[in-house]
């Protein structure tokens, strides 16, 4: 417990808020996130004079409810975080495990490919990929996985390499275990905590990348409520309606922070070796 317990708890509380918002979005949103009402445009949040009771966090320049859009935006953010994070994690970890465990030419080829891959500027790479694949949630997820598998591959490879040199691996060879058995039963459990921590970090990054792509209008349709899209719209309104920009930024910031902290907190708490 102590510090890591508090961290885990705070991160967990915010993540459950986001998950609940995503799951029950149609039930808890005060308004339809797409409904425009030009008579109610740029209403301020509830504590400022001129607010309307049905719009607690105000409305944007088209009169759409900010809170409802935030709540529906969490669905897209979470979908991307989970699917893109898992895809990048599975692909990158598999490659990293293979390279670190097999060594030799497999390792050399993988190392070179990662070096080349990582030398592309990631955001430009993502924009290019989405431009080729076409906009839409699935292209965003594919783009993130295609770019960020290297993040896993590199770190998992290094950790696997270190673990494979430990004597418990030699000891399993002496016991007569096969290579695949050693990888699965001896090495993997020692690399897994790292993979989990990386996964939560990657989920945070995926949320940011989705926001960036929404910001440049390359995610899903510009009408759809995404946090990045809201930030992009809010940017143009900053002098008249700051809340359109600030609330999605806070949501984005807290969610990314919670995801990274949750991963580290989990490791500290449930890893028998670190405890």
């Amino acid at each position: 417990m102590g510090r890591s317990g508090l961290r885990l708890r705070l991160a967990g509380v915010w993540l459950s808020v986001v998950v609940c918002a995503a799951v029950f979005a149609p039930l808890i949103s005060p308004q339809d996130p797409l409904a425009q009402d030009l008579f109610l445009e740029r209403l301020p949040p509830f504590w400022i004079d001129g607010a309307e009771p049905g719009h607690p966090l105000g409305t944007d320049s088209l009169g759409r409810d900010v809170l409802s859009r935030l709540i529906h935006g969490s669905r897209i953010a979470l979908t991307v975080a989970i699917l893109a994070g898992l895809a990048a994690c599975l692909a990158g970890s598999a490659v990293g495990l293979a390279a670190g465990f097999l060594g030799g030419w497999t390792d050399r080829v993988v190392g070179r490919v990662i070096d080349v891959w990582m030398s592309f500027p990631p955001v430009l790479f993502a924009i290019l990929l989405v431009a080729v694949l076409g906009t839409g949630l699935h292209s965003v997820i594919i783009a993130i996985a295609v770019i960020d598998w290297t993040r896993f591959a590199r770190v998992v490879r290094a950790e696997t390499l270190g673990q494979t040199r430990m004597d418990y691996v030699a000891s399993a060879v002496v016991a007569g275990r096969g290579r695949f058995g050693i990888l699965a039963a001896e090495v993997l459990p020692n690399v897994l905590p790292l993979i989990v921590a990386l996964l939560s970090l990657e989920m945070g990054i995926a949320v940011i990348v989705e926001a960036i792509l929404s910001f440049v209008n390359l995610s899903i349709s510009s009408d759809a409520p995404t946090w990045g899209g809201m930030i992009a719209e809010g940017r143009t309104q900053i002098h008249f309606a700051w809340w359109v920009l600030v609330f999605p930024m806070i949501a984005l910031f807290l969610t990314v922070l919670a995801l990274t902290q949750f991963g580290e907190g989990l490791r500290d708490r449930f890893d028998p070796v670190f405890r």
């Binding site: 430990m166 418990y168 030699a170 000891s171 002496v174 016991a175 007569g176 039963a185 459990p189 070796v273």
Partner: protein, 272 residues
């Protein structure tokens, strides 16, 4: 030497020199082992001594085929296992066991002791792995509740006993002990050595004891091979080698070893 359990004949090992690695083509090689002939007689403990870097641990790992030598032959009970693959080695694996120097590294930190000791038994097809593991832990003097702990929850001596239990549980014919007491403090060391002596006589084990500690080797081993720079400079019965070293290197190793002799001067000055 007809009654050798394991024999090495002209065993050599060369590895690429990583410090002089070239960009293209094969780099220069370093000779780790140079044509080693060694017989490990059945039921005896053979010490393999030498300074660090002399190749004694590498030789040990070749003897149990954790590594394959570049050339030469390794015979186990007369069978050539030099180039045996995993499938051909499988029937011999339970007989060729090893206890490692650093139990912190050789015991998987994520597994409980029960799994660490039972694992090799299951791999080798023992149906009664649970009973054999419990018996092995008891035999090395560990209480039964240790089975539910993780390695980092044990003391250094207990961890080394787990390493011994894992090897002994398979009832092997041969155990390679690689510097297995050098990481332990002296009193723990003594306990482990007594345990080894008992295991060797109770189970009729043949053992190779790799160490740089001549005192321990003299105490535990009946035969000894002295290594230097990848070759064996001298081998034979432990008394012959230690009391009448023929090779100057053996004599200088002996000189370098600290002897448990008390200088009367120390006691005098301490009393003043």
């Amino acid at each position: 030497m007809t009654d050798a359990l394991i024999s090495a004949r002209g065993v050599s090992l060369s590895l690429p020199d990583l410090n002089a690695k070239r960009w293209f083509g094969p780099g220069p090689m370093v000779e780790i082992l140079k044509g080693i002939d060694l017989d490990l007689p059945r039921g005896e403990v053979t010490g393999i001594v030498g300074e660090s870097g002399s190749g004694k641990s590498t030789l040990g790992r070749c003897l149990i085929r954790l590594r394959a030598p570049t050339s030469g032959r390794i015979l186990f009970e007369g069978v050539d296992i030099t180039h045996a693959g995993r499938a051909e080695l499988a029937p011999h694996r339970r007989d060729l066991q090893m206890v490692f120097q650093d139990p912190m590294s050789s015991l998987n930190p994520r597994h409980r002791i029960r799994r660490i000791v039972e694992g090799p038994l299951r791999v080798n097809g023992f149906d009664d792995a649970k009973e054999r593991a419990a018996e092995a832990l008891d035999r090395v003097g560990l209480p039964a509740e240790v089975a539910d702990r993780h390695p980092h929850q044990l003391s250094g001596g207990q961890r080394q006993r787990v390493g011994i239990a894992r090897a002994v549980a398979l009832r092997p014919k041969f155990i390679l002990a690689d510097e297995m007491v050098s990481g332990l403090d002296v009193s723990t060391q003594a306990g482990i050595l007594r345990l080894l002596e008992r295991l060797v006589s109770d189970l009729g084990l043949t053992m190779a004891f790799v160490s740089h500690d001549l005192g321990v080797v003299r105490h535990l081993c009946s035969r000894v091979a002295v290594m230097r720079e990848g070759g064996i400079v001298e081998q034979g019965a432990v008394e012959d080698i230690f009391d009448r070293p023929r090779h100057p290197y053996t004599a200088s190793l002996k000189e370098a070893a600290p002897l448990p002799e008390i200088d009367p001067g120390w006691i005098k000055s301490g009393a003043d």
